[in-house]
């Protein structure tokens, strides 16, 4: 009996993972042919990056205040870039009426994870692109590069997971833009505060402190909440 359960569980996990991988591959294939999210996120991030860098510059903020203020601006850039492009992944399914075929075909949790993986890779690509530029233009020294990488990875994951969850909730509603802002605020606020604190610690060479464990806890909570809520939100 136990070997039967084990075999079934492995088969189920394999097919579930194949479904999530199919959704992930489909998202990227569509994205590479339209470049909607990439161009929206990239342009938005680049514009705000240039505005912030030119307005403040390395001399615009006193060095003593720089490590306190500049992480805030950095995460604000990432937040607005993410919210400009990521919610489209679910909204597009509803608007183009592909959601019907998807509802009839996909396991909701696999669909959520496939979309989350896509959002995460887009966001990580954005972070890899803008972080060196931002650090260079603001002449910011990073005393703990490892911790900064962890902050970007954990913060980026939380941002992708939170955005995917809220996007799924609002996809079938009217007034999606306003609703996304209203719903994303309480979901993403704790994440931003923790990611900013962790980034500050990385710049200042301080230990991660409790911010890292809280950020990882946040990521786990949003993922679990997403997996539990999504089937109810997605299906009638």
């Amino acid at each position: 009996m136990s070997s039967g359960i084990w075999t079934s569980a492995r088969t189920w996990a394999g097919t579930w993972a194949a479904e999530a991988a199919a959704v992930f591959a489909k998202e990227w294939r569509c994205e590479l042919r339209t470049r909607y999210a990439l161009s929206t996120l990239g342009l938005f991030a680049f514009t705000t990056l240039v505005v912030v860098s030119v307005s403040l510059g390395p001399l615009g903020v006193m060095k003593s205040q720089g490590s306190a203020v500049l992480p805030v601006l950095f995460w604000v850039i990432l937040l607005f870039s993410a919210t400009a492009g990521l919610p489209r992944s679910f909204v597009q399914e509803e608007e183009s009426q592909t959601a019907i075929a998807l509802r009839l075909s996909a396991t909701p949790s696999a669909l959520f994870c496939g979309k989350l993986a896509y959002g995460l890779t887009v966001l990580l690509a954005l972070e890899i692109m803008i972080t060196p530029i931002y650090l260079g233009m603001m002449s910011l020294a990073v005393r703990s590069p490892g911790l900064l990488a962890v902050a970007l990875a954990a913060g980026g994951y939380g941002l992708a997971a939170g955005s995917t969850l809220v996007a799924a909730i609002i996809a079938q509603a009217k007034g999606k833009g306003t609703l996304f802002a209203v719903m994303a605020f309480p979901v993403l606020l704790p994440l931003l505060l923790l990611a900013i604190e962790l980034t500050r610690n990385a710049l200042g060479g301080e230990p991660a402190g409790v911010a890292l464990s809280q950020l990882l806890l946040y990521d786990a909570s949003v993922t679990i909440a997403g997996l539990m809520l999504f089937p109810a939100v997605w299906n009638p």
């Binding site: 009996m1 136990s2 039967g4 359960i5 079934s8 569980a9 088969t11 189920w12 097919t15 194949a18 479904e19 199919a22 959704v23 489909k26 294939r29 569509c30 042919r33 339209t34 183009s96 009426q97 592909t98 019907i100 075929a101 998807l102 509802r103 009839l104 075909s105 996909a106 396991t107 299906n235 009638p236």
Partner: protein, 228 residues
């Protein structure tokens, strides 16, 4: 605790896992719905609709625009939950719950769309992976319908899109077909082939609910439900 003495531990888990991976059960299938009601806000679209259809037969649903044909089919597919009433679908001895019904049915509707950025074959391949179906079966249907598989879905005419819907709906070899205006936008040859496909489906022990504004001449129609 009572449950664990009735069923060996792990039996329920095994059953839940197998629901997703076992092939469709054999044996006669039957779809029954009774007193199905559905409102959208103040608008009552379905008011106590009942019907049934068994293996080898089709139920024809007719009625003017706005009479609730599409809503009924969406309820039967599990895309909408009725406000009241019961929908029961059995394949052999197994009664399928709404989640399973949703993944087993073959559904065609004018509202059903595919990814415009992907080609016909890429669309089918994507859904074949999700439904654990054979892509070859979908391509075989499309070959019969004469639809080029290398063309992007965005560049298909309305008749070609309808052919793609047929290929998609039949790809996973469903027992139950829910067809909303199935011959819409098809030319003479397309309608002839799709009628043959429907006939073969019913002859092979499948069942279908066909919704259309006007009465259609279809073989094996066992019942007619007029929502007008």
């Amino acid at each position: 605790m009572g449950d664990s003495t009735m069923y060996p531990p792990g039996e329920a888990v095994l059953s839940r896992l197998q629901k997703d991976i076992v092939p469709p059960v054999t044996g006669p299938a039957i779809l029954r719905f009774e007193d199905v009601r559905r409102r959208f806000g103040r608008l009552a679209v379905l008011e106590g609709v009942s019907g049934s259809v068994e293996s080898g037969g089709a139920l024809l649903v007719t009625g003017p625009n706005g009479s609730g044909k599409s809503t009924l089919l969406r309820c039967l597919a599990g895309l909408l939950v009725p406000d009241s009433g019961t929908i029961e679908y059995r394949e052999g001895e197994t009664a399928l719950e709404i989640e399973e019904r949703r993944r087993r049915v073959g559904f065609i509707s004018p509202d059903l769309a595919f990814y415009g950025e992907l080609t016909v074959e890429e669309n089918l391949a994507f859904f074949a992976r999700l439904r654990r179906a054979e892509l070859a079966r979908g391509l075989e249907v499309l070959a019969r319908l004469g639809l080029p598989t290398d063309r992007r879905a965005a560049n298909l005419s309305s008749g070609m899109r309808q052919r793609l819907r047929w290929g998609w709906a039949l790809m996973h070899r469903p027992r139950l077909l829910l067809l909303d205006e199935p011959f819409q936008n098809l030319d003479g040859a397309g309608e002839r082939v799709t009628r043959e496909l429907l006939g073969a489906h019913l002859a092979g022990g499948g069942l279908a609910v066909v919704a259309n504004p006007n009465r259609l001449e279809i073989d094996c129609v066992l019942g007619h439900l007029d929502l007008g």
